[in-house]
């Protein structure tokens, strides 16, 4: 990303580096080849905006993946099993 682009950006949370956009999905999935990964990391070192972008995207994925979910509420559980019991009576 050029300084001009950076200075002119009105939405600093958005990444506008084309090369990063192409690689970021592969990188997040751990599927980037060694060369692409290396270039991506070099780019991130020189572009704070992209570094923040990648960091926040990795965090979103991380928090999704560790999110434990919910236990089934008692009422939902009881209604389900009531319906299953009714199958026995058919």
């Amino acid at each position: 990303m050029s300084r001009q682009q950076r200075a002119g950006s009105r939405q600093p949370e958005k990444c506008e580096c084309a090369e990063l956009k192409e690689w970021i999905a592969l990188y997040i999935e751990g599927e980037a080849s060694g060369e692409i990964r290396q270039q991506l990391l070099l780019h991130i070192q020189s572009c704070g905006m992209c570094a923040r972008f990648v960091r926040s995207l990795k965090r979103v994925v991380h928090y999704c993946q560790i999110e434990p979910g919910w236990d089934v509420p008692q009422r939902a559980h009881e209604r389900l099993w009531q319906a299953i019991e009714e199958l026995e009576e058919l």
Partner: protein
């Protein structure tokens, strides 16, 4: 309540496989079907809750999913894992219910994430301090709101892949999409989620 009933295992000490339970259930063994319900009740509830965004709809969809699975169980041909087939039913039931809603009364697709608390989340060193527990609880709620606000195509993939832990291959089977399509929607969904949660990240 039948939830506490046990099931005789084929080999003592080893759990009966899903496929074996399905075979028994296809022959009319309701106890086998109940064991499948016990195994997947929580997972199916989480899929329906995440797709629908509220407990009432998720409760209905949970029930619909298993009743539909029971009704159509004889059509299951063992060409995929039982759970893949079940999650497809859960997803379809949820999306049908979602589309039927004339208007989204609990979440708007364009609704911004609540801004009541400023959460600066790092990956925490200590998960057990009261402050961290509070942060995690608040983030859990904000995350669910953000997921519920995603466009349907992105939401289904993000829920199944990132939140419920299915592989790309499994998601492609559940949603009948190509793997490149799954990957594309997943990435777009993640980007959309990041935008919605940016202030907490």
């Amino acid at each position: 309540m039948v939830a506490g009933k046990g099931l005789q295992v084929a080999v003592p000490g080893l759990p009966v496989s899903d496929d074996e339970l399905v075979r028994r259930a296809q022959k009319g063994n309701l106890v086998a079907f109940e064991e499948l319900v016990r195994r997947y009740e929580r997972k199916v509830y989480n899929i329906t809750y995440r797709l629908l965004g509220n407990e009432e709809d998720a409760t209905e969809a949970l029930q619909d999913t298993f009743l539909r699975a029971y009704r159509f169980l004889k059509r299951f041909r063992f060409q995929s894992n039982f759970y893949t087939w079940l999650y497809r039913i859960a997803t379809n039931v949820s999306l049908t219910r979602l589309r039927r809603r004339k208007r989204l009364d609990t979440v708007s697709l364009d609704a911004p994430v609540k801004e009541t608390e400023e959460l600066m989340l790092d990956i925490p060193d200590d998960h057990h301090t009261p402050e961290e527990i509070f942060r995690q609880k608040m983030f859990k709620e904000r995350l669910q709101e953000a997921v519920a606000s995603l466009p349907e195509d992105y939401r289904t993939v993000v829920v199944l892949r990132d939140l419920e832990g299915l592989s790309n291959e499994e998601v492609s089977k559940v949603l009948k999409l190509s793997i490149p399509a799954v990957k594309s929607r997943l990435h777009r969904g993640r980007l959309a989620l990041r935008e919605r949660l940016a202030k907490y990240l």
